[in-house]
């Protein structure tokens, strides 16, 4: 059995032992509790005699590969780990696991999407076990108001793989004496799922569309100009930029998409909209003062309906952030000064705090005159020009150039680092490729490799190595 610290694996283990015992079966359990409370993996191993009989058999303390009847996991990667270690086998093992993921630190710390391929995990789960009981036990625990270990116990009972009746498990929960009602509810939930009596509504991850008015003509224009497969993105881009700036800016967006290879429109449109709605102070203030935001926060922090809520924003603007909303000359002067940052904790649920943010958000009319806006537009034009130039050489190269925009994101140092990497790759790989100094197919791979390397570590070591290898 594999679990994460905090999942209650030890208690689950005790329940099974107590249930087997009360049913007169020989049982032995042991565990490697791990060190950490929350992040470490913990493992448990139990042996239960198939029938009541004379005692004193020597039971083992370690699982053996190919000799495990039931494998339990409170999380999908931990199920994968048991498979990886050979304990789950298609001739014998029933795998009972939660399908939710709790990302390991290396997956979370990645600069982009570092999560392990769930498809691979699920395929291994299907192919390498004899039978499977899989559902999102984290969600089931939440829905039942209990903890995941009781859901897993229910699933084990429901699997019918142990010669122990449900009543013995339930008695074990009662005997444990803690949170009995919720644990019993979670147990029943788990059992219902395992027996197929309950269906789980898979929680869909919902993307949020921007709400914008007065964009009908632009959307009409997009529908006439771009392939249907790209329209969801293009339309979202229009709405986004309409709210971000104005209708003219949204029209500029469509202008810029003209001439893009139909096969590339979707990707370019996606990145272009993000680049055009770059994160300046005004945009942050817009996001923090939008109508839906307060409700979103309330849901996220689970504030109840009548509970007053106070939100404090963590801002630390410095010369770069201030310069970004000044005219170019003033901005350059300010950026040449010594670097400074001012810590500002704005209480955005007070009237004064909110009004200040709202004022910042209202500066959007001024945005086209700012230093940052002018810089960004120039950068975007260069990027679009290279995509268009690459289209005729190789669609793959053009796609990779478009995708490179992923590097430019964030604020402060993060933004500076990303932009720096982006420019480095543009100068050292894309420029020579467009000048015909590289085979386009090779260049496309090189850009992709450089992008992956730039996202591999924040110190830029991988990128330097990769660029050196490309140059060589």
């Amino acid at each position: 059995m594999g679990a994460l610290g905090g999942d209650g694996g030890g208690v689950l283990c005790d329940w099974i032992v107590a249930a087997a015992h009360s049913h007169g079966l020989g049982v032995q359990a042991t565990q490697i509790p791990g060190v950490a409370q929350r992040t470490g993996a913990t493992t448990y191993y139990l042996e239960v005699m198939p029938a009541a009989g004379p005692r004193a058999s020597v039971l083992a303390l370690n699982p053996a590969i190919g000799e495990v009847d039931v494998a339990l996991a409170t999380e999908l990667l931990e199920a994968g780990r048991m498979i990886f270690n050979g304990f789950v086998t298609p001739d014998r093992t029933t795998l009972i696991a939660s399908t939710h993921r709790v990302l390991a630190i290396s997956e979370r710390a990645a600069m982009g999407d570092g999560s392990f391929d769930v498809g691979r995990l699920l395929r291994a789960v299907q192919e390498r076990s004899k039978a499977q009981i899989l559902f999102d036990m984290d969600q089931a625990a939440e829905e039942s108001g209990g903890v995941i270990n009781a859901v897993l116990l229910g699933a084990l009972a429901g699997s019918g793989r142990l010669p122990i009746p449900d009543t013995a498990f339930e008695a074990a929960i009662r005997e444990g004496g803690k949170a009995v009602d919720t644990n019993l509810a979670a147990f029943a939930f788990g059992r219902g799922h395992a027996r197929g009596e309950l269906d789980q509504a898979v929680r869909e991850h919902r993307k949020r569309q921007t709400a914008a008015q007065g964009v009908e003509d632009l959307i009409e224009r997009a529908r006439n100009s771009f392939p249907a497969s790209s329209l969801d993105i293009v339309e979202e881009g229009i709405r986004r930029l309409r709210v971000y700036q104005d209708g003219k800016y949204a029209a500029l967006y469509l202008d810029r998409l003209e001439g893009i290879d139909p096969l590339l429109v979707r990707e370019v449109a996606r990145h272009l909209a993000v680049r055009m709605s770059f994160e300046d102070v005004i945009r942050v203030a817009q996001a923090k003062t939008s109508r839906e935001r307060l409700e979103r926060v309330r849901t996220e922090v689970r504030a109840k309906l009548h509970e007053p809520l106070e939100i404090t924003e963590h801002f630390k603007p410095g010369n770069e952030e201030i310069a970004a909303i000044l005219p170019p000359a003033a901005a350059r002067w300010l950026m040449a000064r010594r670097k400074f940052n001012v810590s500002m904790h704005v209480r955005s649920t007070t009237i004064w705090g909110f009004a200040r943010l709202r004022f910042l958000a209202s500066l959007r009319w001024w945005r086209p005159h700012t230093y940052r806006y002018i810089e960004e537009q120039a950068e975007i034009e260069r990027w679009l020009a290279s995509i268009k130039a690459a289209q005729s050489l190789s669609p793959d190269l053009a796609r990779e150039i478009a995708e490179l925009a992923r590097l430019v994101k964030g604020y402060g140092d993060t933004y500076a680092r990303g932009l720096g990497n982006y420019r480095r790759i543009s100068a050292e790989v894309i420029a020579p490729a467009l000048a015909g100094k590289m085979v386009p197919r090779v260049a496309a791979d090189a850009v992709a490799n450089a992008r992956v390397a730039a996202l591999a570590d924040p110190d830029g070591e991988s990128l330097s190595r990769t660029l050196a290898a490309i140059a060589a």
Partner: protein, 716 residues
């Protein structure tokens, strides 16, 4: 957390871990059936054996022995058992000195190998004069999967100090019997006895029939009127030591061998293949049996189970091997002390039995089911090719091939789950600050230590150049600092400080005019092992008086540059580190990074808050969040914090693919993520949310007013 009150270190109390069930189990009487884990069975057994005193230093997997007794003060008072929660293993070993002069039984416990290393000096001085009261040392053999220390064997100490070593078969009745017999063995041979229990044995569940606890004849309830008469033979000083050495080999060891045989401590499992045999350490027996079962030869090969692995009984081994063609020795870990001894023993007696051991089993590493099965296959192939193993072998090979296939399917190693700091841990901000410091001054040599803070050597911090043992981080930088342009930083916990760091580190550094930086994590407990009391906790387990204050101790030792800082304030921490690194002032610079262990804090405040809510009192719940619209998915915040409640989720933005950061419901509102975003100038995504529960009419009024105005002002 910065704006939440915390309890000063001098008032931090035991966070009420409850061992109620376990405490009850210790009171079982004659004929009752005890059910529970291995280490608790040992605890019960020592009370049944009539110990007068118990002591130890915590460490997995044996912490529970002392922890449970700490909560059993009533029982200990009734029996008259003295409990000493020692400040290190050396002190625990010295505690056994009581049994040198007085016929009283005592038991101490610690984690091995590290604890035995620390205890070694006292252990030698105990073993030399020997004991007249039974002395038992229960060591947690932290070896193999889940171990947290260097992989060495306790056996080495048993051999060199002539201390007997038990390695009982992991079944509760055997463990309990060995524990009780250990005291008798100790008294019959005037020698302390060690008993090693591996991690799985400490946690193995089982049952045994209990006996009544035995109040010791001499105890705190039945005190002696007079001290022992002066007897120089009992002192480990020359010339007594010369006599002791002879006694060990001439008298004590033969006595021990007789005792082992007479009391049947080692077990013999019969089998029909009298030409073969297996000799196994008691602790590995279960794995062996599983392997034999898998190869369908269980019950066929005679097996000698060594529940005592030192001394080996020459005659017993020789009798077992005589007449056999081949004997396999299953002995985990290196060096192969037992195998070497058996080779020598048989050679001297001209017994020609072929011995297999580390040639068919690996020299190093844990003996898992697979490793032992593999070894058994080799042994049986070489020594008994008449046994048909084709069926089991095919199944075993198929399982291995299946695993290779599964690994291919998964496509390479899975992400590891290294241990990390808990949600809201007060130690995390210190490492965030060190990361930020390194952005300014470049990489710094960091000398790490044992404790939760050693998790900083893992992702995402990856900070730390060496670990030299508990409380050793300052000493370990002694010769690094003089050759380094930048000062070194040593990190130590308050547990490590009292265990060893005060003398080995601080005193030595002061004495040698070391110019180094020391960060002491002061949370008030040894938390990684289960939040046991230490001298700077509020009192010990019995009263509320704080024994020793770290800052006062350092001042008294002459430390001039000393700062005590709330850890959560990353900017202040960074400022102090910067100053410590750059100041012209020579000598040791110490930052006491103070923050209550969050696990302890949560155990303390959760029931309080629940009670307040129930009474209808106003409670403000604080937690943090990330605006998913503002976050761009770079995850710098995660790399600088690693908080388990700072997770990633798919971006809600239809235009973005990189997952965004998110704070989950595990958040305890420590505020580090906001602090780091602030100190590192990361991004404006973080917000703090204060939710007013049981709001007053005033709260509601203000809220209604604010939401009306804000609702009118909001756009979109």
């Amino acid at each position: 957390m910065l704006d939440q009150p915390q309890v000063p270190v001098s008032q931090r109390t035991n966070p009420e871990r409850s061992f109620k069930e376990e405490v009850r189990a210790l009171r079982l009487g004659e004929g009752d059936v005890f059910r529970g884990e291995g280490i608790l069975a040992v605890t019960k057994a020592i009370l049944q054996a009539g110990v007068s005193y118990v002591g130890g230093y915590q460490g997995a997997p044996v912490s529970h022995l002392v922890d449970v007794l700490v909560e059993s003060q009533d029982l200990l008072d009734e029996l008259g058992v003295h409990l000493e929660t020692c400040t290190n293993e050396s002190s625990a070993a010295a505690l056994l000195g009581a049994s040198i002069n007085y016929p009283i039984r005592g038991c101490v416990t610690w984690k091995s190998i590290v604890g035995t290393n620390v205890a070694a000096d006292a252990l030698s001085n105990l073993a030399s004069p020997g004991v007249i009261g039974g002395a038992l040392i229960v060591v947690g053999e932290d070896y193999g999967e889940g171990a947290s220390v260097i992989q060495e064997r306790t056996q080495a100490y048993a051999l060199k100090s002539s201390v007997w070593l038990m390695d009982p078969r992991p079944a509760l009745p055997t463990i309990v019997n060995c524990t009780e017999k250990a005291f008798e063995l100790s008294e019959a041979t005037n020698t302390p006895v060690m008993m090693e229990l591996r991690i799985r044995a400490c946690h193995v569940t089982g049952e045994f029939v209990a006996k009544d606890n035995k109040p010791p004849a001499i105890s705190r309830n039945a005190r002696l009127a007079q001290p022992a008469l002066h007897n120089y033979d009992r002192i480990s000083h020359p010339p007594s030591t010369y006599a002791h050495e002879k006694l060990k080999v001439d008298v004590r060891q033969p006595a021990a061998e007789r005792f082992i045989v007479e009391h049947g401590l080692n077990e013999f499992f019969a089998g029909d293949r009298s030409d073969l045999g297996i000799i196994v350490q008691g602790g590995i027996t279960n794995v062996l049996m599983r392997g034999l079962d898998r190869l369908e030869v269980e019950g066929r090969i005679p097996t000698l189970v060594l529940n005592v692995t030192h001394p080996l009984v020459g005659d017993q081994i020789a009798d077992f091997c005589k007449g056999k063609r081949a004997v396999l020795i299953v002995e985990e870990g290196a060096p192969d002390y037992i195998e070497q001894a058996i080779h020598a023993l048989l050679r001297k007696r001209d017994i020609g039995t072929k011995i297999y051991g580390k040639d068919v089993l690996p020299m190093a590493g844990e003996y898992t089911a697979e490793v032992v099965t593999e070894g058994l296959l080799k042994f049986l192939t070489l020594s008994a090719n008449d046994i048909d193993l084709s069926g089991p072998r095919a199944r075993f090979e198929a399982a291995k091939a299946g695993r290779a296939e599964a690994q291919k399917l998964l496509g390479g190693p899975l992400p590891l789950r290294p241990p990390g700091f808990c949600v809201g841990c007060p130690e995390r901000p210190v490492f965030s600050a060190i990361k930020l410091l390194e952005r300014e001054v470049g990489k710094v040599h960091i000398s790490s230590d044992i404790g939760c803070h050693s998790f900083a050597t893992l992702a995402p911090f990856n900070l730390g150049n060496s670990i030299l043992g508990f409380g050793m981080s300052l000493a370990a930088a002694g010769a690094v600092a003089p050759v380094m342009q930048k000062r070194t930083i040593s990190v130590m916990g308050d547990g490590g400080f009292w265990h060893n760091g005060l003398l080995s580190g601080v005193a030595s550094s002061m004495f040698n005019r070391g110019d180094r930086v020391l960060v002491i994590m002061q949370n008030g407990y040894t938390s990684a092992t289960g939040a046991q009391f230490i001298p700077n906790t509020s009192g010990n387990r019995r009263d509320g008086e704080t024994t020793s204050d770290i800052a006062a101790t350092l001042k008294a030792m002459g430390v001039k540059w000393l700062r005590t800082i709330r850890t959560y304030n990353v900017a202040t921490m960074l400022g102090s580190l910067r100053e410590a690194m750059n100041t012209k002032e020579p000598g040791l610079k110490v930052i006491v990074a103070d923050g209550e262990c969050q696990l302890a804090r949560q155990r303390r405040v959760r029931p309080q808050i629940a009670a307040q809510l129930k009474r209808g009192e106003r409670v403000v719940r604080t937690r943090y969040g990330v605006d998913d619209e503002v976050c761009t998915g770079d995850h710098s915040c995660i790399r600088l914090s690693g908080c388990p409640s700072l997770v990633v989720k798919p971006s809600p933005d239809p235009l973005r693919t990189d997952p965004v950061a998110s704070v989950n419901n595990g958040c305890v509102g420590c505020g580090l993520c906001g602090e780091v975003a602030d100190a590192a100038v990361l991004c404006p995504s973080f917000y703090k949310a204060d939710i007013v529960q049981n709001a007053t009419w005033w709260d509601r009024l203000v809220w209604r007013l604010r939401s009306t105005v804000i609702g009118a002002l909001a756009h979109g």
